[in-house]
Amino acid sequence: MSATHAEHAPGMPRARLARAWLRYAVEPYLYLSPALLLICFVMLIPLAIGISYAFQSINLLRPFDAGFVGLENFETLVGDGRFWTAMSNTFWWTFGSVTLQFGLGLGLALLLSTQFHGKRLVQALVFLPWAVPTFLIALTWSWLFNPVIGPLPHWAAALGLLSEPYNILGDPDTALWGPILANVWYGVPFFAITLLAALQSIPSELYEAAEIDGASRWQCFTKITLPFLGPMIAITVMLRAIWIANFADLIYVMTGGGPANSTQILATYVFTTAFRKLDFGYASAIAVALLGVLMVYAVILLVVREKLVRV
């Protein structure tokens, strides 16, 4: 078995060979080149530059201070209380959002996997939030939380959750709940759609067999549905968590990180530092730290995935 004498095949002129080679090796890159060029110039090169910024002092408000400063930005970071607050907020923001989104999403998916009247309409309606632009979600929810025009504070007060109808976004103790709630509203359809698709991929024979074996509804759920969806659920949840940790729009629009940094997560901290203070060096250092956290998380995720796949 060898392909060594390919070149000596009778009557295979060089030019033709070159053309054939061109066709099979170069053609795909012809189709890929616009995509690759754009990605390189708009994403990868800026990414490299962005990482290098983390080791520089680049503040547009102090243009004469520019230059390499080594690890200075990171040293500042370690001593920066807002950074650590943002770190813990990132955790709570991600954890709270994912948990609620997933719980409600699973419930919705299970409901939608049964038959009922008007299912198509219901499905369209409950998935609608997924299509709403995020800035609009943020605005809408901050208006809903506003006691002047929004009903939520009044309802909460009526239920005894709040002592009086005030804006929870203005209270450092409760402010993070605002964006989380908005995020849940936005994210439930995503989980529901994903889980519904997964549910539909479970062969119905499995349920029929279980039913013949005398399994109850609850047993069907715990013995078939959950084990079947398990690995897929775990991976979706973990990937989604990364996405949410990076998701700054809602918080930025709803609270801008305030009051008193109580809703600042790492992603919004990056943005406000870059956008408001124009301190690109420090913003990039925070971003690199965020990337580091995410990478650690990704490694954990890969390990877990290995485990799940093996089972």
């Binding site: 890159y29 990605i39 708009v42 990414l47 530059i49 910024y53 929004g150 759609i193 994903t194 990056v270």
Partner: protein, 280 residues
Amino acid sequence: MAALRRTPPALVAGKYAAIAAYVAFALFPLYWLLKIALTPDALIFSDGTALWPSELTLDNFRTVIFQSDFMAYFRNSVIVSLSTAAATTLIAAAAGYAFSRFAFRGKRWVVALMLLTQMFPLLMIIAPIYKLVAAIGLLNSLTSLIVVYTAFNIPFATFLMQSFFDGIPRDLEEAAMIDGCTRLQALRVVILPLTLPGLGATLGFVFTAAWSELLFALMLINSNDAMTFPVGLLTFVSKFSVDWGQMMAAGVLALVPSCLFFLFIQRYLVQGLTSGAVKG
């Protein structure tokens, strides 16, 4: 699932209650947006938290459409989103086609590269992008937004297009080539008509993504002329946080293109996600 199992009536009632709760949860914020937008200014506070407005008016919409800059923002957003969607879809279709139909050296690296761009926080490049765009003098131009958004959406759109191309049997293309087509002809006459739904879906996804992008637009645009809808609305909110009715009317307008797209894309949602091809 279990067709013959009898369901206790309490459970059925519970199920419908749960469904109703989900629908209410999903629709209420949008309903409220619409309600305030339709409430006359004078009644906003007296109506307060009443569920129905006691009087309806289109004044807010009229003001927003005819007497504010929102139509300009709207137009900017439409230009940016449409151009981004068209450019991305075209470029991603070519790339997705290459992924789907060719086995070539370096393919794994290219795929890995594209996946990488989906992994790191986009905010990491907001500062470098700002400086690059400023350096070539394209701040406050829609062009810079279009280029940046196109690049951002290409990886995902490429994978989406690839999954659509993968769904078209290769035999069809080969049959066309035997019937006398060149590769490009086969693409145009046979593959393209069959990918139309896929192209539509990709176009729609990218359009919505570009339509709602806020942070890069905030960074790259600060002149009123070039503001996109999100930037304009946000600026409006922080400047004049009093005219609730108008803001919400503007919000409702921002919702329109997304909802149109959503109606169109609805039936692909579940099947599209099955192939793992759709992002949040």
